[in-house]
């Protein structure tokens, strides 16, 4: 009996030491813990799949009981929204295509050049202290740790664990999530006056853009265009033409440039809006408008390619001293209702080798 107790005490000490050892390894980004997880997943996956099949009717019944009225209301609301957005989607698609063509023309990176894998959410986090979802695609589909994950609305998180045919995605709202972002500090409704063009060379995109004013002279056409949610001056600099020598010189007008602030987006847990911190201390809080769009900053060490839509500023908190303002963000993606996701096959340098 006493010997049995000694054995058990030894086992407890050994297991506790093993737990501390694994924590140290994992926090040090050791690959051995990932291998251990994969081995365990091989054993656990079949058991989990069987359990999922058996318990599906129960969870379905629970969801039907809890959410039926909400689903009916949401369905009505969505039908109306779809009808409203069908027209806008055509215009948006054309704008995005134009934007991508311009970016490609200038040799700038675009999302169009990055392959993606579509995946379905098959499970939520089982614990109350992490914000992750499980998707039904894994390393067999080319998914790797660190890849950004989007839904139809915008960025929702990044891949943190990859198994053969499933992966875990950490959501933007997880306190461990951080990403460098850009805040476009000018209103998203921008009026741009395109330079005069000969009538025969006038843009053919008029049909998809909302033309507010058109004036014609005998040989040129001047078009003023308003595009919601699109800032042409971000990629094409407004210019003035100065006559110099025998040819015209194009000079950008600095005061008309859209200012972009960069900061770090951080999750703050479920039910709490993420924030953007570390904005330049010289940034005045009143220079950032509520509703200003937030997009990923990109860059060689960033976790995501540039210009992925994340959300809009919902509140600007000014701080005293040298600390810059803090922005509260309303995400465009609804993280509580995820179904189909898109994993961009883009692995950041900082995550390579995992």
């Amino acid at each position: 009996m006493a010997q049995n107790k000694t054995h058990l005490t030894r086992a407890v000490i050994l297991l506790a030491l093993a737990a501390v050892f694994f924590i140290t390894l994992d926090l040090g980004d050791s690959g051995s813990t990932s291998r251990l997880r994969r081995v365990f997943d091989t054993v656990f996956s079949p058991v989990e799949n069987v359990s999922r099949v058996i318990t599906r009717p129960l969870s379905g019944a629970w969801n039907a009981f809890r959410n039926y009225d909400e689903v009916v209301d949401e369905n009505d609301r969505l039908r109306e929204q779809v009808a409203l957005q069908e027209g806008a989607a055509v215009a948006a698609a054309a704008s995005v295509r134009l934007s991508q063509e311009l970016l490609a023309l200038n040799g700038l990176p675009t999302l169009a050049g990055i392959n993606s894998v579509t995946a379905q959410v098959i499970g939520e986090t089982p614990t109350n202290f992490s914000q992750t979802v499980e998707i039904n695609q894994g390393s067999n589909s080319g998914i790797k740790v660190g890849m950004p994950v989007l839904n139809a609305a915008g960025l929702i998180g990044k891949v943190t664990e990859v198994f053969a045919d499933r992966a875990l995605v950490m959501l933007v709202s997880d306190p461990d999530y951080a990403l460098s972002v850009k805040v476009v500090t000018k209103s998203s409704r921008t009026t741009v006056t395109l330079p005069p063009l000969p009538t025969e060379d006038a843009p053919t995109v008029d049909s998809v853009l909302e033309t507010t004013e058109t004036s014609s002279t005998s040989s040129t056409t001047s078009t003023t265009t308003t595009i919601l949610g699109f800032t042409p001056s971000a990629t094409t600099i407004p210019a003035e033409v100065v006559a110099g020598g025998g040819s015209n010189i194009t000079v950008p007008i600095a005061s008309q440039l859209s200012v972009r602030e960069t900061g770090i987006l951080e999750g703050r847990g479920p039910g709490t809006r993420p924030i953007v911190r570390f904005l330049d201390a010289s940034t005045r809080a009143d220079a950032i408008e509520v509703g200003a769009p937030i997009v990923s900053a990109g860059g060689s060490r960033s976790l995501a390619p540039p210009d992925i839509v994340i959300g809009v500023v919902s509140r600007v908190v000014e701080r005293l001293g040298t600390a810059g303002p803090v922005l509260e963000i309303e995400l465009v993606a609804d993280l509580s209702n995820l179904s189909f996701l898109r994993v961009l096959l883009y692995q950041p340098i900082t995550e390579s080798g995992k």
Binding site: L8, A11, N128, G269, P270
Partner: protein, 175 residues
């Protein structure tokens, strides 16, 4: 060789791994979908607390450490954190029940549920200690409350499961 294998299969620790796998699969499927006010009931914590409550401190610690390490393996959190927290849960449940001379069945359930709920407060604290802050908020008390109520309902059926799983000797059919 075969006899050793049979001994291993018949041991309570092998049964513990199998039962913990089943409980874990329920946690990651059914109980991650059935959320009460947005919080999931922590079946693993309840199971460990029950195991500690019906056995002694050492058995409770081992059940907690093994179950916790298995739980960590399917989560994105550092491997070992849940192991330590659930290990402490098993020990806590055994120690708490030791302080009563002859606890009644309802007292057992009450104590086990309270210890399981407490583990949901200790978990974010442990995460903060290793540098994973951000979870220390009033929300953890709501999580603990949901787990406490879940424990009141689910710990009773777990008592015979924990007793069978951790029974020291199982007959192999030989006399």
């Amino acid at each position: 060789m075969v006899e050793r294998l049979l001994q291993l299969v018949a041991s309570r620790w092998f049964r513990l791994v199998l039962v913990a796998l089943l409980v874990l699969s329920l946690q990651t499927t059914l109980f991650s979908e059935i959320r009460v006010f947005g919080y999931s009931v922590q079946l693993m914590a309840i199971f460990v607390a029950v195991a500690g409550g019906v056995h002694d401190v050492r058995v409770g610690a081992i059940v907690g450490l093994v179950s916790g390490l298995m739980y960590d393996a399917v989560l994105a959190t550092p491997l070992g954190i849940s192991g330590l927290v659930l290990g402490a849960t098993g020990v806590g449940a055994a120690l708490a029940l030791r302080s009563f001379r002859e606890p009644t069945w309802w007292l057992r359930i009450l104590v086990v549920s309270a210890i399981a709920a407490l583990s949901e407060i200790v978990l974010p604290l442990t995460k903060a200690v290793v540098g994973l802050g951000g979870w220390l908020s009033p929300r953890m008390f709501a999580v603990a409350l949901v787990t406490f109520v879940g424990g009141l309902i689910l710990s009773a059926p777990f008592v015979p499961v924990a007793r069978w799983t951790l029974r020291e000797q199982v007959s192999l059919g030989r006399r």
